[in-house]
């Protein structure tokens, strides 16, 4: 997170006071935390995690109850009585459970302990109507209806909102009660973590590894700022050849710097790595890692090599084009995402891989929508003193791999060629990233911190997209294209296709709402932007039409619009 300057500016006159009280300034636009701080890039698992412990999501699985979960024990920690009336009202808690919760709450306060003995409920893929005796759960499961191996897995399998009843018992008494309700939701209506979770709850049980724990842990368990596979330190005096760019184990026992270290392997810890005893003895010999490479010399950040644009007019034109490029890739990624078969029709690994590919394509498309907004925010901030016109014209061509080259828009099914094209366009230091590098270089000279931060975030997320598309390629590679695509050769719906026409009308409305919202500025324009967002996400709007187009086996595509606010824009 970038530290905001901590300053005390005391307004002296009315104009200064007015600015401080301006709602427009109160809602300062925030570009968000760097990608490396987000949940999706953190080490979050159940061992526990290093940056987020996912087990905590199950601590509040039953409404108004907070529990601790071990392998075959669920202990009640606290009762949230204040939330109970709302839970009853929403149908998540039975009215009969209220006095039980009150009883448990009073008992806990007097020092008694309570635990969940029996759980009745649906276990998602394991089937409906299970009766699980928690104490009997064990690592080995047998039989036709194999039960989950532990209490946490059992809870994790409960679908949100499914009916559920618990038998709770005082630990040192025969007193037992039933609690009836529904499996609590993870997220609220806005998509944020449900209000039941307290700040810090997701990180309250992180792993604090001892040095020699690292000797045994797999790659996925290492903190993102502390990789176990790195590039070796560059030799000081010689020109480093490609052998210095190979991945090597960070905790290798040979610490010499004059020759490239032995490469990392995917076998178990090998003799080239320190053993448990050595890693404790020689911890201080392990090098700092920055930018994926061990550093043994004072670190100098790499300078941005891109040249700034010569004039402000050029910067503005390139920013408007960048917004168009964002719109262009949104079109490409959406067409690809909706060309994948519905996971419901698939099974096994194919189902999982297609689910993941679709989810990631949609996630990236949505992030590109945020980029569109970010670029418009930067443009607006560069026009403090005159009319700002939102940049919502789609790029007629997208940047190619080499500087100065362009390629046409690729509205295609998500076949291998398309995924490769997506990898190319998100490739660091070329294509779109090259365009933003020049924009950033210009803003580094004459822009504000917020403008620079906005563009840096766009670039960092582009790098994440580059990696994610490589993952998508990997996930889909074991399968034939025909297995995961709706059709091998998909086309835009023919002229006169009613659903396609309806989609175009939705899209025009969406762009008009965005245009009005962006032109108005924030917070006032937020209402229009939300309107545009609702068009996309509400089930009865665009989603319904898109579903019908998919069912017909056509590509989800958006036609060029004549309105000069939205018509295609050529590269400057």
């Amino acid at each position: 997170m970038i530290d905001a300057p901590v300053v005390k500016l005391l307004p002296r006159n009315v104009a200064a006071l007015r600015k401080g009280q301006d709602a427009k300034d109160g809602t300062r636009l925030v570009t968000g935390n760097p990608i490396s701080t987000r949940l999706e890039s953190g080490i979050g698992n159940c061992f526990p995690g290093l940056e987020c412990d996912l087990r905590n999501l199950e601590r509040r699985f039953f409404p108004c109850l907070e529990v601790d979960v071990t392998l075959n024990e669920i202990s009640v920690v606290a009762v949230d009585l204040a939330a109970a009336p709302a839970a009853v009202k929403s149908g998540y808690l039975s009215k009969r459970s209220l006095p039980v919760l009150k009883r448990i709450d009073a008992s806990l306060r007097s020092g008694q302990t309570w635990q969940v003995d029996v759980l009745h409920g649906d276990l998602g893929p394991l089937g409906k109507k299970w009766r699980l005796v928690i104490a009997e759960l064990g690592p080995v499961t047998t039989g036709t209806r194999k039960p989950p191996p532990d209490a946490w897995t059992a809870i994790r399998l409960l679908p949100e909102g499914s009916k559920l009843s618990l038998t709770v018992r005082g630990a040192h008494s025969r007193e037992a009660h039933h609690l009836v309700g529904r499996r609590a939701r993870y997220l609220d209506d806005q998509g944020a973590l449900a209000a039941a979770f307290m700040p810090g709850e997701m990180t309250q049980s992180l792993c604090s590894p001892w040095t020699h724990d690292f000797r045994d842990c797999g790659c996925f368990y290492w903190a993102s700022n502390h990789p176990d596979i790195v590039k070796p330190p560059l030799p000081a005096d010689t020109k480093a050849g490609p052998e210095w760019n190979s991945a090597v184990p960070w905790e290798r026992s040979d610490r010499s710097l004059d020759k490239p270290p032995a490469r990392a392997t995917d076998s178990d810890p090998t003799p080239i790595e320190m053993d448990h005893y050595a890693i404790n003895q020689r911890w201080q010999e392990l090098n700092f890692v920055l930018g994926g490479r061990e550093q043994v010399q004072p670190y100098t950040p790499e300078e941005l090599s891109s040249h700034p644009f010569a004039t402000r007019a050029e910067l503005l034109a390139q920013l408007r084009y960048a917004a168009g490029v964002e719109l262009g890739v949104i079109h490409e990624y959406l067409a690809a995402a909706f060309s994948l078969r519905s996971p419901q029709d698939l099974t096994g690994a194919l189902r999982q891989n297609v689910t993941a590919a679709h989810a990631e394509l949609m996630r990236i498309a949505i992030i590109e929508m945020r980029h569109l907004r970010a670029v418009n925010d930067v443009l607006r901030s560069l026009h403090p003193d005159e009319h700002f016109k939102p940049a919502l014209q789609i790029a007629a061509k997208l940047p190619g791999l080499d500087p100065g080259t362009f390629r046409p828009l690729l509205i295609s099914q998500a076949d291998r060629a398309a995924i490769n094209a997506f990898i190319d366009i998100e490739k660091p230091s070329s294509s779109v990233d090259g365009l933003y590098s020049q924009i950033l270089a210009t803003l580094n000279n004459q822009g504000t911190v917020d403008q620079q931060h906005a563009i840096r975030t766009v670039m960092a997320e582009g790098e994440d997209h580059f990696e994610t598309f490589q993952f998508i390629r990997e996930w889909l590679s074991p399968h034939q294209e025909a297995q995961y695509l709706r059709r091998r050769q998909m086309t835009v719906p023919p002229k006169g296709n009613e659903d396609h026409q309806a989609l175009q009308e939705f899209y025009k409305d969406l762009l008009k709402d965005l245009y009005t919202g962006y032109a108005t500025g924030f917070p006032e324009g937020g209402e229009q932007v939300n309107k545009a967002r609702n068009l996309m996400v509400l089930p009865d709007e665009m989603q319904r039409v898109i579903g019908r187009i998919c069912a017909q086996g056509y590509l989800v595509a958006f036609d060029a619009i004549k309105d000069p606010r939205f018509s295609p824009v050529a590269p400057p």
Binding site: L9, A15, K19, K24, D385, E386, T448
Partner: protein, 440 residues
């Protein structure tokens, strides 16, 4: 009326802020929108060392807030204020008169007729914005030479104000020597803003402002005719305005002499444009500034002790700084303000009667294109020598009529005077917040 296209935004290298100190400590003026902040020492050093984040914050504070009009705009409001040049002659013969006693070097040879005055008043009231007041100013020559017209205009405008539901206000600039009881009653009853032209005590006034015949005695005439109004102003507001000629160094004494007549507010103004040797040259500004600051220092001391500030140059500057006055135009000329000549032509400014460039319309209406061109040319962003000046939205390039007399020295005077006022504002607003009323 169509909006003029917005001008180019200021060059990014134009200063967005101005640092200054007062007895309270360090401050910054954010140049656009004239926002004034107290600074902690550490942050003031960060600004002075051009710390990137600190400069970014200054830039962020330079943007318009809700309800603030971008400073690059050329607003074309409905005219809310006119002056009527009701007379073309004067009973005094001041050598430096911009209007050459009302005749404007022959451009205005006749007195204004009732018909011209009536049409002008009706036009401005009918076309005005109901949200703001309408001001009718009366100028000359000496306006009370045409006393009958003044009385008639005031009564007619008052009636029109009632029928059109407008808040009509009046102002007059007079030498005060012709005021009669009936005039005084008119001024009192209609809450006039009265500006009396007087340059100092008897010796100065008689020498600088002789009678038209060349005889001395204007001071005594003024004293006799203005005293009843000063003693009982009713609802009117009276201020004295003194012209300072080049090399005059007795500001303090003249200020005291004018106050001794019973004025509670005195403004001084240097003679920048005139024929002959009396106009200010580069070497005169420093002495003038010293005189202005000497009076101001004493007035600020009075203000800290609960009294009003009597030097209007200072009191107006402090009031404007308090509210954050910031404009790309030095006055309303051609925007909300026009001056109507005796022949019915509408000029952007009362000092420019007869000047073709300033003639933007007549009783038939305003020439929209000429008006736009006039304003575009005079916007402070269009003034090359104002582009890099931190005082650009406070001074706004100064009086259009005096633009040609702008020199490095005269601009340095403006900046130093504003620096003085900025510090004074911070100190007085801390020592006596009530002077500025409740901040809202």
């Amino acid at each position: 009326m169509s909006a003029a296209p917005p001008l180019e935004i200021p060059s990014p290298s134009a200063p967005a802020f101005h640092r200054f100190r007062s007895a309270l400590g360090e401050h910054v003026l954010v140049v656009p929108f004239s926002r004034i902040y107290d600074l902690e020492d550490d942050f003031s050093r960060r600004i002075d060392h051009e710390d990137h984040d600190a400069l970014g914050l200054m830039t962020a504070l330079s943007t318009p807030g809700t309800g603030e009009v971008p400073l690059s705009r050329v607003p074309l409001p409905a005219p809310q204020s006119i002056s009527l040049n009701v007379s073309s002659s004067c009973n005094l013969g001041c050598s430096y008169c911009y209007a050459s006693r009302g005749g404007f070097e022959g451009a205005q040879s006749a007195v204004m007729s009732w018909e011209v005055a009536r049409q002008a008043v009706e036009k401005v009231i009918a076309g005005s914005d109901a949200q703001g007041p309408v001001t009718i100013g009366l100028l000359g020559g000496e306006p009370f030479v045409n006393r009958r017209l003044i009385h008639r205009v005031v009564h007619h405008a008052r009636r029109l104000g009632l029928t059109h539901r407008r808040d009509v206000r009046f102002s007059v600039t007079t030498n005060g020597t012709l005021l009669r009881d009936s005039d005084i009653r008119l001024l009192r009853d209609h809450a006039f803003a009265v500006t009396v032209s007087i340059d100092g005590g008897a010796a100065i006034q008689d020498a600088r402002r002789p009678l038209a015949s060349g005889a001395r005695g204007s001071f005594e005439l003024l004293r006799q005719h203005v005293s009843p109004l000063l003693e009982n102003p009713g609802s009117c507001k009276i201020a004295a305005r003194a012209t300072v000629l080049s090399g005059e160094s007795d500001l303090k004494q003249r200020f005291a002499d004018i106050l001794a007549l019973g004025f509670t507010e005195v403004g001084v103004s240097p003679l920048r444009v005139a024929r002959g040797a009396n106009r200010f040259a580069d070497e005169h500004w420093r002495g003038y500034l010293a005189g202005l600051m000497e009076i101001s220092t004493a007035e600020l001391e009075r203000a800290r002790n609960g009294a009003e500030i009597r030097l209007s140059n200072l009191s107006i500057a402090l009031k404007q700084l308090h509210h954050g006055a910031a404009s790309p135009f030095a006055c309303g000329a051609g925007g909300g303000y026009f001056s109507v000549a005796a022949d019915g032509n509408w000029y952007a400014c009362h000092r420019a009667i007869g000047d073709e460039e300033y003639r933007l319309g007549d009783l038939g209406g305003l020439d929209a294109r000429r008006r736009e061109q006039f304003l575009l040319k005079r916007h402070v962003h269009a003034q090359t020598d104002c582009q890099q000046c931190w005082a650009r939205y406070l001074c706004s390039g100064g009086c259009h009529q005096e633009a040609a007399s702008r020199t490095q020295s005269s601009c340095d005077f403006i900046r130093e005077w504003l620096d003085f006022c900025l510090s004074a504002y911070c100190e007085l607003s801390a020592a006596r917040p009530a002077y500025f009323g409740r901040q809202s």
